[in-house]
Symmetry: C3
């Protein structure tokens, strides 16, 4: 791909030789003369001057002497687009592997690919272009859309509904029973876990994450939401569209999360919390049962507070030793 | 099922038409004229008035005009019992799937069901009525009781002993090596992980949770204890009977937990902690190494404290800004 | 094995009858006349006097009347060595199970063992003596060294490179995509996850842990590092040699960790943190984005601080109620 072609693809402004070709993408540190890379932010641009990259995407208005650059409004975003073109998609073995067990009453589109030892139960439907890795399990009545990619050993419990272009990484479990018990007569009685689970289009879920079905209602993960590894989503949770949920975060039963919400890693959300649109929650924060987090605000800490409040309390905490000294001085002066 | 039959089943007090039939259970919000539901607590009962349910279980002494209700001491508990009757258990394909690999020296009861690609090694015993999902692995010498349900891709390491009516959700690992090393000569030397693991009757363990074997002793999970998803139980841990352990909680080596203990989500219990009967620990709490939590008490925070103490400290924390102001005022007054 | 042989093996000093034989290892509490055990520390040695063990390894200079002891500098370490000899390694079924699917362009050493339903894709290489448990998946081009042990249901994504004597427990995922998105035009755009992952020699990783590949760079886990269950290692993380990382800890993107680092359980390390050699981080600590933890120091708390500082702040916190009282007294005195 010539740099002139790149300029056209991302509608950028060239500095340098547009006829030069790049064949791959790479990081700023590793890129060589055949590679395209990008630089953003003070740190990135400071390092860019020493790069050996064949072409660097830079923010509008930036120039790097002696280097071939293409200026665009958002270099990282343009980099994603070019990488999609330059890097061929990994080839998939077509067809259904002979060791795969497909129920005669399952309904697979013609070009579905299934690796070895996949199990597809009765009443399952799988849309066109969907690929199933080795050992994937689709329980009775699962509906799986088109162009999905399920990595090895994903388990989908019976009845789950999954949209189009959904990516589930290895070991993901969708639709397991929620954790609900009533204590009586000296033991725990299991509350019925009969509800559904819906994963909408363009969702991606990281390795070994677990998504429980609803108890009587439905667990929903909205369009475009991305979930990292080892995340727990409990029964009846409703997550909106285009959210980001980082690794090891846990979301308890009946939580409602709006659109464009960002949860950091290891966040704990207790049951019946409501998180409005565009909220950001910092890593390891804990949100107590029944709380409401307000639209567009950022929260941190356990129990989570709005960021300015958290920062103020935290600053005071850091100054505790000086407060203690001040109290001592006051006491001594009064004693005189 | 007529409502008269329901009244008899749960020994309730009817208001309305006992000859009406219900065919399913549903949540208060979703229940229609053919459904049974329940209402409890101020919030539930407030919503119940607008319900379209064919029958509502309510607490003794409550009446809802114009609606068919059955009054019982504990509506949610009675609901569980009726749901068990109304909802047929999902059918299981009987027998052993031909792709399953069973060692000739394994001992399976006649009516054991095993899905595709199950692996059962030498010396394994499986009791009557137990069902094994696709891809379950039972290592050498595992003893598994009757009426158990193992969902797809459960791994049980060699030698583990599992009781009756145990439910293990997808991806659960039972009996992996504990995490014990001795540092010498510039590297970690692995301590032998030779012990056993015992899961007693009526235990349920959520998706992708991990239970390590003992190092020299035995890891034990007591009768009726319920464990949520992504929970870690380390080597030599002993958990008592009828406990509840919520998602993503981690229990370190050699911890002892009594009966009827409740641990919230994302709790961390360090090694050699002792938790007595009927203790409750709030979500995200951290219990330092070697601590003892006293019978019947509730703990919260990191490091965990008894709830009244935690609340007091937390209240003071919230008032830190006002203390700082007070100190300032005192200083200014003294300066005059 | 006679006790005289043990004395020679660990270069110890015998007290008692060297001709006595022991046949197994056991804990101090459980060891009988045929067992070897060890005792260390005040608590261990206090219990040792009542042991029925056939032989007890004790620290140099310690003697236990009436008992057969072997004194060594580090009893637990010597115990590990003897256990390695006394306990036979579990036998492995040799060869490749007929249900295993091996691509003709994979390259397996002659004595590789593979359990049922293993999948080995094109271009994979596996070194001598390596054993693959049931249902292991090795993606295209994976390089796996010699004498490795992969337990059932491990998933290795294409291209990962794994050294010699590596142990991966059940459900481990190596090489899944990192969690990187750029928000634009109302949705998340996935950043390319094209990098590699290298697991060096003698690494052990616990059940259901997840190790992401690099985005453009490489995720590296250094020689001899041991990782517990349910740990998350994100893209581009570099972990040094001989580290210990306890259960449920999460390490975010581009973190750099030196050698001999110890992270407690449920620690959260935000992105771009740098942890120098020999650092110890206490359980549940949280390390904010971009921080550097200094060589040889111990850190605790969220946000993590050096231990002395943390202890001081924590002590002040505990005394908050008394500070509040003092302020009240000062105010009352001034008011007079």
């Amino acid at each position: 791909m010539t740099i002139d072609e790149i300029v056209r693809l991302v509608d950028g402004r060239l500095q340098g030789d547009g006829s030069h070709e790049v064949h791959d993408v790479a990081s700023l540190e590793r890129a060589g003369p055949d590679d395209l890379t990008f630089a953003e932010g003070a740190r990135g641009l400071a390092k860019a001057g020493a790069s050996r990259a064949g072409c660097i995407l830079v923010p509008d208005g930036v120039s790097l002497p002696q280097l071939t650059t293409v200026a665009v409004p958002r270099p990282k975003l343009s980099f994603i687009r070019i990488a999609d073109v330059l890097r061929p998609k990994p080839a998939t073995t077509p067809g259904i592997h002979p060791s795969t067990v497909v129920d005669p009453q399952a309904n697979l589109a013609e070009d579905v690919c299934a690796g070895p030892q996949v199990v597809i139960e009765r009443g399952v439907t799988v849309g066109p272009g969907t690929r199933l890795g080795a050992g994937v399990f689709l329980g009775e009545g699962v509906a799986l859309g088109s162009q999905c990619l399920l990595y090895p050993k994903v388990t989908v419990y019976p009845g789950a509904r999954i949209g189009n272009r959904v990516v589930l990484h290895a070991g993901v479990v969708v639709g397991s029973d929620g954790f609900g018990y009533v204590f009586a007569e000296g033991r725990q009685h299991k509350f019925p876990q009969l509800g559904g689970v819906i994963i909408e289009d363009d969702v991606e879920i990281g390795s070994n994450s677990t998504i429980d079905r609803g108890s009587l209602g439905t667990t929903v993960i909205g369009t475009g939401t991305k979930i990292d590894n080892l995340v727990q989503v409990a029964h009846n949770v409703r997550i909106g569209r285009h959210c980001l949920i980082a690794a090891q975060t846990g979301i308890s039963g009946s939580v409602e999360i709006g659109d464009y919400v960002v949860l950091g890693g290891q966040v704990g959300v207790a049951d019946n919390v409501r998180i409005e649109d565009n909220v950001t929650v910092g890593a390891q924060a804990g949100i107590p049962s029944g709380k409401a987090l307000r639209k567009g605000m950022t929260y941190w800490g356990t129990p989570a507070r709005p960021l300015p409040e958290f920062k103020k309390m935290y600053a005071h905490l850091s100054h505790l030793p000086s407060f203690v000294e001040k109290i001592g001085r006051l006491e001594r002066r009064l004693a005189k």
